[in-house]
């Protein structure tokens, strides 16, 4: 039996809003059990930050009625923790690490992309519009597992192809000092360096994601902001005195 569920049109009732599908690929390998020095381990920090993020999305009317979230985890094996669900209906699931497990990041990303593909086809069949889908990859390590190098190369080929056709926005995030930023970097052709964050500052990353989702649903098609490319001021400062009173 397939691990993938069919698109559930009933999720949307008669909603007319443009959708923003966001697929998270979260690292749940053994290393996430590492303590952070605050009394929590990495996994607890992640759960707290993620839960705050979902609450913030729910309290933003525009985002709550547009965003759909799915979660794929990779600890030992790639698994779907949460199938695509509108943010307004989601019960934030508890993310748990698998002790002494490997990090099959490549497979997880491929599962995530497949979920996004099913979702997009569902929207199309129903006649719903959607924004560029998001893939958020979060890890504190490096790809590990059976044939993992090969799987990771497949994942990179897929994300970069979609991203360069403006069919995907990639958030590649490394937690702590052991995250393999080189391989994360290769997931995106648009982001100059992966987002790197200390395990105690995960909130910041999720705040950035929240803010970006707000920008996305306000209909601003300029995705540069998601890649940290703030528009540079092209003009120069000029004197205001002739306008003063």
């Amino acid at each position: 039996m397939s691990i993938y569920e069919d698109f559930n049109a009933g999720d949307f009732a008669k909603s007319t809003k443009k959708r923003l599908p966001i697929c998270f690929c979260l690292d749940t390998s053994g290393s996430m059990a590492a303590p952070t020095g605050t009394g929590n381990n990495r996994m607890q920090e992640l759960n707290e930050a993620f839960s705050k993020f979902v609450d913030a999305m729910k309290s933003n009317d525009e985002v709550a009625s547009s965003a759909d979230i799915a979660i794929v985890t990779f600890g030992g094996q790639a698994a779907i923790l949460q199938n695509f669900t509108p943010v307004s209906k989601i019960n934030t699931p508890k993310i748990e690490y698998k002790e002494r497990s490997l990090t099959p990041m490549g497979e997880a990303i491929q599962v995530g992309l497949k979920l996004l593909e099913i979702r997009k086809n569902g929207y199309k069949q129903k006649g719903m519009e959607y924004y560029q889908p998001w893939l958020v990859v979060l890890t504190d390590g490096e790809p590990e597992g059976k044939n993992e190098l090969e799987e990771m190369e497949k994942a990179i080929a897929q994300t970069t192809a979609l991203e360069s056709q403006n069919k995907l926005v990639v958030f590649n995030i490394g937690i702590g000092n052991d995250a393999d930023l080189n391989v994360l970097k290769r997931l995106s052709v648009k982001r100059e360096t992966p987002i790197s964050v200390r395990e105690t500052n995960l909130d910041e990353v999720f705040e950035f994601l929240g803010k970006s989702s707000d920008t996305a649903v306000s209909g601003d098609e300029n995705t540069d902001a998601f890649y940290g490319k703030e528009e540079l001021k092209k003009g120069k400062e000029i004197d205001i005195s002739e306008w003063c009173i």
Partner: protein
């Protein structure tokens, strides 16, 4: 106003026909100007013609809930009464809008058009300039009449050119540091204390106004205040736009040192249409007693406010559901309007979903929008409100993006009930289309499939017809007035 002699020089006599557009009434400096004009007309027994649009605009002004505006409307009404008593008034009941008047009368050299320089009327006159024989009294930005006796002077005065001095990336330097509790002032010297911030975006932060809780002050972020914004702010302050339901930048706000830093506007609290218009269930959760007629009234109300702005030479430009907020009394407010197009100052942004085919993928900074362009955006707004938030070009298994479907006019609704319903989005919208009166279906089909462009006044009149139709039909077919239907 021109003296009696000047009017005589213009050869206005009992054989002339003067056509007055409401934009002239709104733009004219004072009523004394109009009085000289009236006296002359009465003396020479000249006929004055107005169209149906004139009365629609009159009705719109009466709805402003603003005493000054209402007094303008009442004086206008007196003016018409006076003409009527002296047998000088000609009501062209069969002519709806300015496009039609101009098309029918512009070749007649005995006709004098009276309108505001940046109005929709002016746009229509420019559209027929090659065959134009009529003359014009044009009200300029300062509220003064300019007599134009030939086509060249009309074109020179009315052809719209973007003010290119404002197209620059340069921004004003200011030492102003904004924070809660700081004082700012208006140009008259009224001092305001900024209270707690109540909203923030990419352009600036909005602060409560401690001295006047009915108002808020928006202060631009550093680097956001450029020539276009500043020139527009001063022009907005000059234009006396006062309407219950338009959140207008009423006063430019200065730092205590005298640098302009932002503007003052009414404080509006409510929900944006974008979070209410998400299918009938969400609408009914917010407004449980709403029927189709309430949606029609809402659309009419918003479009009348846009028409009011048009009279002043103002185009909304960046129209979107998020910029319309419904307050606790159920009044829709047009908000975030500081980006609008006024006279020769462009609106530099736009939302693709509301952009007409001819402007898709164009750079808004570099060009002025026309009333013709904006009537498309208004049609999209009308459709979205009547169809609970659905965009007219949303469709099953779409071949291209929404923007592409707007450009190619790929409209998924059939013109008649025998047509193809299979592309209409899931969720009962096929039934909603089936239950839309034939006249309205044809109207939408004309706009979104054939590409015909109705003027804003025609759209407003069509909504009124729809409303009245339901009044008549409701008793026999009550379901027609439901917002939606069960579909499973």
């Amino acid at each position: 106003m021109k003296t009696q002699n000047e009017l005589a020089d213009a050869a206005i006599n009992h054989e002339s026909l003067i056509v007055i557009d409401f934009s002239a009434i709104v733009a004219v400096d004072s009523f004394e100007e109009l009085n000289t004009f009236t006296e002359y007309i009465l003396q020479h027994h000249t006929k004055v013609a107005v169209s149906r649009e004139f009365y629609e605009n009159y009705e719109i002004i009466l709805k402003s809930l603003n005493n000054e505006q209402i007094s303008i409307a009442k004086m206008t009404s007196k003016f018409l009464d006076l003409l009527n008593e002296n047998d000088c008034l000609l009501y062209m009941a069969d002519i709806v809008d300015s496009k039609e008047i101009v098309t029918k009368l512009h070749k007649n050299p005995k006709v004098f058009f009276v309108y505001y320089r940046n109005s929709e009327f002016a746009e229509n006159v420019i559209g027929v300039k090659d065959t134009l024989k009529a003359k014009a009294f044009i009200v300029d930005e300062n509220g003064k009449f300019q007599i134009c006796m030939d086509t060249k002077s009309i074109v020179d005065l009315c052809a719209k050119h973007i003010d290119s001095s404002v197209i620059s990336d340069d921004y004003f330097a200011t030492a102003f540091e904004v924070k809660e509790g700081i004082c700012v002032k208006t140009k008259e010297g009224t001092i305001l204390t900024l209270g707690k911030p109540c909203g923030s975006g990419g352009e600036g932060t909005v602060y409560n106004c401690e001295d006047n809780p009915a108002y808020v002050v928006k202060i631009y972020h550093k680097g956001q205040l450029n020539k276009l914004r500043l020139k527009k702010l001063f022009l907005m302050e000059k234009k006396q736009v006062r309407y219950n339901g338009i959140c207008w930048p009423e006063k430019v706000i200065f730092s205590m040192k005298g640098e302009p830093v932002g503007y003052m506007m009414k404080k509006i609290t409510g929900k944006p249409l974008s979070s209410i218009f998400d299918g009938d269930e969400v609408i009914l959760k917010e407004f449980p007693y709403w029927k189709k007629q309430d949606l029609i009234s809402l659309a009419t109300d918003i479009l009348q406010k846009i028409q009011y702005l048009h009279l002043f030479g103002i185009l909304v430009g960046d129209l979107r559901l998020k910029n319309i907020v419904i307050d606790a009394q159920g009044t829709p407010w047009i908000v975030d309007i500081d980006s609008c197009q006024i006279d020769a100052l462009p609106c530099p942004i736009g939302y693709p979903d509301f952009t007409p085919p001819e402007l898709q993928k164009k750079e808004f900074k570099q060009q002025l929008r026309s009333y013709y362009n904006e009537s498309f955006s208004c049609s999209v707004l009308m459709f979205k409100i009547l169809f609970c938030g659905l965009h007219p070009y949303n469709q099953k298994n779409a071949q291209g993006t929404l923007e592409e479907n707007i450009s190619s006019r790929s409209f998924p609704y059939p013109q008649n009930v025998q047509g193809d319903f299979s592309k209409i989005p899931w969720g009962g919208y096929d039934e909603m289309w089936r239950h839309t009166p034939f006249q309205i279906q044809v109207f939408f089909y004309d706009i979104f499939k054939t590409g015909y462009r109705y003027s804003l006044i025609e759209i407003i009149l069509m909504l009124k017809t729809y409303y009245e139709f339901l009044d008549i039909k409701m008793e026999t077919i009550p379901s027609l007035n439901e917002i939606s239907f069960d579909y499973e």
